[in-house]
Amino acid sequence: MYSEIVMDHFRNPRNVGHMENADGVGQVGNPKCGDIMKIYLKIKDELIEDVKFETFGCGSAIASSSMATELIKGKSIHEAVELTNKAVIEALGGLPPVKVHCSVLAEQAVKSALYDYAQKTNKVIKGLENYKAEDDEIHCQQ
């Protein structure tokens, strides 16, 4: 059901783990829905020097997190904010329709971490001006 790339990222997730003293941290999803993604960013001169993730979720959630971190690592925060779930899906070689929400979550986790960084540093990142951290309301999407 999963592409080779998804399975590779699930088996060998890139950038997995906790990060101390992250410059930005974002967490989206909730246990009720069965998916939580947490993304940690180390940012220097608006460049994402390092990124880590922790994910509670299914195979495609883990793979999406892994892929998302790969896609933004080394990018500037302005490039990173433009990461879409579509880009994640494409990079993964596709996702089953019922798993598309995992890629959405990955996009949101990245945005949320960037927003956290922007808040902490009083920066404005274009595209995040009106960003609202997801409230904890349950809206398990499909």
Binding site: M7, F10, R11, P13, V16, G17, Q27, N30, P31, K32, C33, G34, D35, I36, M37, K38, E54, T55, F56, G57, C58, G59, A61, I62, P96, V98, K99, D136, C140, Q142
Partner: protein
């Protein structure tokens, strides 16, 4: 890893060699239509069906003419509910009592029957998955036509007090349907002692072929046909019989009846070894289902802070096949309705894994499974942003 460990025997089973052998003549040698009684080839097919029917009847303490073959446990469940409902609706009876933890073949059929005016009461279960007999009694109405309770649950393995439910049904003159799909071959079924009026069965759960089900219907039961047409199954279920499949079903039941007690004892020992092994080696787990009133082949735990589909994928990589109560594995929104009905929170329910063993499993397999699970859970927990019960409740 090289060995393949199939631990999903509640989903389906590997067909037994003896069953395949028994079936093999009914493809291109004894291929007659059982309805063709005027030539040898047809008569042989008919005899083969009747032999299987007799095996099932004996196994359940039923009469041969009370056994019908269907295409699946699901068809049997549909027949029982729709057949009884459509036969009784115009008698002023429109109420069914069932439980919250039934198979979808029951639950979705009840939902569908709403459009014909049928009302359903869904009984609660406790944290072990047992229904409350008092609630059952209180739910009975003058319009109640059917009580439908599964013998044993497919996810958590909990075995209901069927005989007591049967007594209550009988006292009130209400038909009693039992989804026996998971119980067949694993729990002693006696339709008379247990006051069962209708019983659903399925061959592929007991090492028979797929696509063949069975139904016990007590003689005299008021029930409509479900599949109308030719005179097969004494005019009660139309369609040319899947003779080879019926033969296989019969053989599987014959084999199951032969070493019934030994089979159960052996599985129970292995099951308990797996349960203890997981409990003792992996922290933060919750056993789902009843500690003792459970199927001899069922082990179901929730592993906190991790999600079931990931576990399954990693298990598959180690050659182990299992199943999960996570929504992610079913493509649905919520985790298993059964786990939720036992009061498990969503977060924990997402991390549940069911192992269902067979007689082909050894002690070594069990120990390998425990070890593998420990590694997998450690690995996934290391990745998880949830680290404790507080996080889980958010």
């Amino acid at each position: 890893m090289s060995k393949k460990l199939y631990l999903d025997n509640a989903a389906t089973t590997r067909v037994r060699k003896e069953v395949i052998d028994e079936m093999s003549r009914y493809f291109d040698e004894l291929y007659g239509n059982p309805s063709s009684q005027l030539y040898e080839l047809g008569r042989k097919s008919k005899e083969a069906i009747e032999k299987a029917r007799k095996t099932l009847a004996n196994f359940l303490n039923a009469e041969e003419k009370e056994i019908y073959f269907t295409a699946s446990g699901s068809e049997s469940d549909n027949w029982a509910l729709k057949g009884v409902a459509f036969a009784n609706l115009n008698k002023g009876k429109n109420h069914i009592i069932t439980t919250k933890i039934e198979h979808h073949a029951i639950l979705h059929t009840c939902e569908y029957l709403e459009k014909f005016g049928v009302e359903t009461t869904y009984l609660d279960v406790d944290r072990y998955g047992l229904i409350d007999l008092e609630q059952l009694k209180e739910s009975i109405r003058p319009e109640t036509m059917l009580i439908s309770v599964m013998f044993a649950n497919n996810e958590i393995g909990t075995i209901q007090p069927i005989e007591k439910i049967g007594e209550i049904a009988k006292e009130h003159g209400i038909l009693f349907h039992v989804d026996g799909v998971q119980a067949l071959g694993s729990v002693k079924i006696d339709v008379n002692k247990q006051h069962i009026d209708l019983l659903s069965m399925s061959a592929h759960k007991i090492r028979g072929p797929k696509g063949i089900g069975g139904m016990f219907i007590r003689k005299g039961t008021r029930i409509d046909n479900f599949v109308h047409g030719g005179g097969q199954e004494r005019g009660r279920r139309a369609g040319t019989e899947g003779v080879q499949n019926i033969v296989g079903f019969g053989k599987a039941v014959e084999l199951a009846s032969q070493d019934f007690n030994h089979h159960i004892e052996r599985l129970t020992v292995l099951r308990n070894r797996l349960i203890e092994g997981i409990k003792n080696n992996i922290p933060d787990v919750v056993l789902n289902g009843h500690p003792t009133e459970r199927l001899p082949n069922n082990v179901n735990f929730s592993y906190k802070f991790v999600e079931g589909e990931s576990i399954l994928l990693l298990l598959d990589m180690e050659g182990i096949s299992a199943s999960s109560g996570s929504a992610c594995t079913s493509g649905s929104l919520d985790p298993s309705h059964v786990l939720l009905a036992t009061g498990l929170d969503h977060g924990t329910a997402h991390g549940s894994i069911r192992f269902t063993i067979s007689e082909e499993i050894t002690e070594e397999d069990i120990d390998f499974t425990i070890e593998t699970m420990k590694k997998i859970i450690d690995r996934l927990r290391a990745m998880s942003p949830i680290k404790n019960d507080e996080d889980l409740k958010k």
